[in-house]
Symmetry: C2
């Protein structure tokens, strides 16, 4: 396989050997063929690439320029063919994932680790952002796979898998609310609330929960990162409103407790796996989507 004109390959070899016939030997072609390519190049460029010495050919100034460029091109070519070789079989060299923060913490790292063993040459681009941002990226093709919360229906997006995550309050183990097994929203009014900032709040599960009641919370802080919300809750500063997945690791370590909201009854946090509707994914990405599907199904609250 070659991406550059054969004449350029011949040219490089002649420049290296300083002789048509030696170059022809190495290239396993007739010297006349090599000669013709060189003459053709010089004719079409209108510049002499070599000086003709009785002893062979030597690069002219123009030839030096040309040679440098051709060498760079050959380097590029080898590199490109190598990456394309990696892609062969997997369908791509890089899978671009756009996901909400919750996934970044535990689910994705584990899953990508396993996936990496099956496809060692596939790299990942992991963008974490809010639902709106994620859908935008998937729709425009900036991301191959998207995982977001409660997405609105969009024609250009194909929704592959979804799961309802438990939504509720998250507090430190020492917090009074940790005593009950379930919590009513009205009970939270008495404690400082650790809320997402305006941008995260828009379209969130919490927004819809609050919309269904007249309860007024007493905000203590508004954060633009779930990590910050959890840290404040862990420090016992107040009550946070998250889904079960957000605090999976902290629950396992006993650093936080999760108590589902009993009322109002809302269909809370839908975690949704999606991709572009009109695009067919590369093979490796298709495999990853399948693995993500089962991983997401497994997140359904037991019972």
């Amino acid at each position: 396989m070659q991406l550059l004109l054969t004449g350029l390959r011949y040219f490089e070899e002649v420049a290296r050997q300083g002789s048509l016939r030696k170059a022809a030997d190495r290239l396993h072609v007739a010297a006349s063929a090599v000669n013709r390519q060189i003459l053709k190049l010089e004719d079409e460029l209108g510049v002499a690439l070599f000086e003709r010495l009785p002893r062979g050919l030597r690069l002219s100034p123009a030839g030096e320029l040309m040679l440098a460029q051709v060498r760079r091109w050959q380097h590029d070519e080898r590199q490109l063919l190598e990456t394309l070789g990696d892609i062969r079989g997997t369908g791509c060299a890089e899978i671009r994932i756009a996901a909400v923060e919750s996934l970044t913490d535990q689910v994705l790292p584990e899953l990508l680790g396993r996936f990496g063993e099956r496809f060692p040459r596939v790299r990942f681009a992991l963008h974490t952002g809010l639902t709106e941002d994620i859908l935008e990226r998937v729709a425009t093709g900036e991301a191959d796979i998207g995982i977001c919360m409660n997405p609105p229906p969009i024609r250009r997006i194909r929704f592959i898998e979804a799961v309802e995550l438990g939504f509720g309050v998250v507090v430190a183990p020492s917090h009074p609310l940790a005593a009950a097994s379930e919590v009513r929203l009205s009970e939270c009014r008495d404690y400082p609330a650790i809320l997402p900032d305006a941008e995260m709040f828009r379209g969130s599960t919490l927004e819809r929960v609050l919309a269904q009641s007249d309860i007024e919370l007493t905000p203590l802080a508004g954060c633009n990162r779930i990590l910050a919300i959890k840290s404040l809750a862990r420090a016992g500063l107040g009550v946070a409103f998250l889904n079960a997945l957000d605090v999976a690791r902290e629950l396992a370590h006993g650093e936080l407790v999760f108590r589902p909201l009993r009322n109002p009854r809302v269909e809370g946090a839908r975690l949704v796996l999606c991709s572009a509707a009109d695009r067919s994914l590369p093979m490796a990405a298709e495999v990853l989507v399948e693995e993500l599907s089962v991983a997401i199904r497994a997140l359904a609250p037991r019972g």
Copy 2:
């Protein structure tokens, strides 16, 4: 003229248009021809460059990679062809000159300025160094043209033109030696001498002059730049030994005076224009050599 495979040009246009037939229209070829090039590329690369949609073609991940590379290559190609176009007619884009410091001051700038009007697109690489360095560069082809002092005969170097420059002492106008019209070496013994350093001294005219007599000078300073020697002499610190060309500008301004050495009789400072013996110079360089020849001949001491 094109340096890349036609298939790549087709590929780029198809990627741009998203359609074989539209691309074929723009390329003024049949759609089937374009299609075959694409299929051939994909076959040889073993990777699908496009996804086939009912509405046309869309780049695959591999295709995106390929396109980026092809675009870079096309950019390189345009740029290279442009420079080669400049070279056409002049024979080169850059003339590399290696010259002694004396020339750098006045002669070369003026001459290169005039030359630049005839060949506006030709650039210069001007290396100033000592004779040994200059000859080395000319011999190895690092420089196209060399101008040096008193070169030893070397087979690989072709000496084109030479001129004998007046050699003598250089002092400030207020210096006692400025009174005489000629100076004997023995008279200099009484004044501090401003000399070149060991490296500059080796092989210099001054070295040969001193070798022919038993005079012992009283060194004040050893410099590795003629500019420094002249500055010290201009400040009246002592007597310097230079050729007429070195101080041409200072003589014109009356800042220094030049007094030829009367004895011993030496063939002093031979300024020599040279180039590589086995190389044929580019056209523009050949012209510059001719202009340098007349300029150097004009340096001969009047009378």
